[in-house]
């Protein structure tokens, strides 16, 4: 019998953060338990105001073997960066 609790990935939105960020993982019996454990493990020092948990098994990851095909072609396409424009001061932080 497998006695380990399922693994969950934890995402926290910080006080001033706009999006949830991955902060780590933990074990829990169900989603509600995972939220409680995330609260105790990852927000003890006021790190966040919102928690998402996702069963780790539900995350599909890209394969390291695809690294070349996936990312290398972007190396020589510097024109994709919007760094050739002058941004007016009035626009503020981008």
């Amino acid at each position: 019998m497998k006695s380990e609790w399922p693994l969950w990935e934890v995402f926290i939105r910080g006080q001033h953060g706009l999006s949830h960020r991955h902060v780590g993982s933990l074990h829990a019996t169900d989603a509600e338990h995972a939220i409680q454990n995330a609260r105790d493990v990852y927000t003890r020092r006021k790190e966040g105001i919102s928690i998402w948990v996702v069963p780790a098994a539900h995350i599909t990851a890209s394969s390291p073997d695809d690294k070349g095909a996936f990312y290398d072609p972007a190396d020589d396409k510097v024109y994709r960066h919007p760094s050739f424009f002058n941004i007016p001061d009035d626009v503020g932080a981008m």
């Binding site: 609790w5 829990a28 338990h33 454990n37 003890r44």
Partner: protein
């Protein structure tokens, strides 16, 4: 305003906080270990507030630290429930659930206390205790309505601890709120959770008493205080 009433609240938090801290490094899962330590620290924080105010109102120069570390077992005024040993994780969670269910109602009542300092402490503490109760309730439901083994352990934990429930609702003039009046709300929450957990409440209403009056603590309190107080008693000038 009763100093004894403040000491009762402080001692409940202190003794249960110390008990929970005994799990540190021993809980069945890392996440539970951290959660129990967090909750223990919540209780120690509440202890500082209640015993700090008690010392201030008493006016004899005693602080939260001197009250915590230099009194003997017979001067403690905590409920017998909180000094009961941890035993296994099931007993610890059942004790927590029964205490939290009472604690939540007591603090909610105290948020309306006429003394602003008392109501301020209650308002801060009730936020923490809302979470404590949610967590311990979920644990009792999950383990009670879990496997055959976990159900059996939770039922035996309930049978063991139920005789300590009655004392929570006894009262006298030292209490800061009418404890008997909290019983219906306690029964509603605890009853619903125990039903969901498929656990059966013992039919006997026999209640061990003597903790909050200090008349008769169980033998467990002295052993716990010996561990808790050894350092400040041996090295009164120790700082960290």
């Amino acid at each position: 305003m009763s100093v004894n009433g403040l000491i009762r609240l402080g001692d409940n938090a202190l003794v249960l906080g110390q008990r929970l801290s005994e799990w540190c490094g021993h809980a069945p899962a890392l996440e539970e270990d951290i959660a129990l330590a967090n909750i223990a620290l919540d209780f120690i924080g509440q202890t500082q507030l209640w015993l700090g105010l008690a010392g201030e109102r008493e006016g004899l120069g005693r602080t939260a630290d001197t009250l915590a570390y230099t009194r003997d077992a017979w001067d403690f005024r905590n409920l017998l429930m909180v000094e009961q040993p941890n035993r296994d994780f099931g007993v610890t969670m059942m004790r927590q659930f029964l205490f939290d269910s009472w604690h939540f109602e007591a603090l909610t009542a105290l948020t309306h206390h006429g003394d602003v300092e008392i109501s301020a402490i209650a308002q801060k503490a009730v936020k923490e205790v809302t979470y404590h109760r949610e967590r311990s309730t979920d644990a009792v439901v999950a383990l009670g309505d879990g496997t055959e083994v976990s159900h059996k352990r939770m039922q035996s934990a309930l049978d063991r601890l139920w005789p300590y429930v009655g004392e929570m609702f006894t009262g006298d003039a030292d209490d800061l709120t009418d404890m008997a009046a909290l019983r219906p709300a306690f029964d509603a929450h605890a009853g619903a959770a125990l039903d969901e957990a498929t656990l059966t409440r013992p039919t006997s209403d026999f209640a061990h008493q003597g903790g909050k009056t200090g008349v008769r603590h169980s033998e467990h309190l002295g052993h716990m205080l010996a561990v808790m107080q050894v350092l400040p008693r041996n090295y009164p000038d120790a700082t960290w």
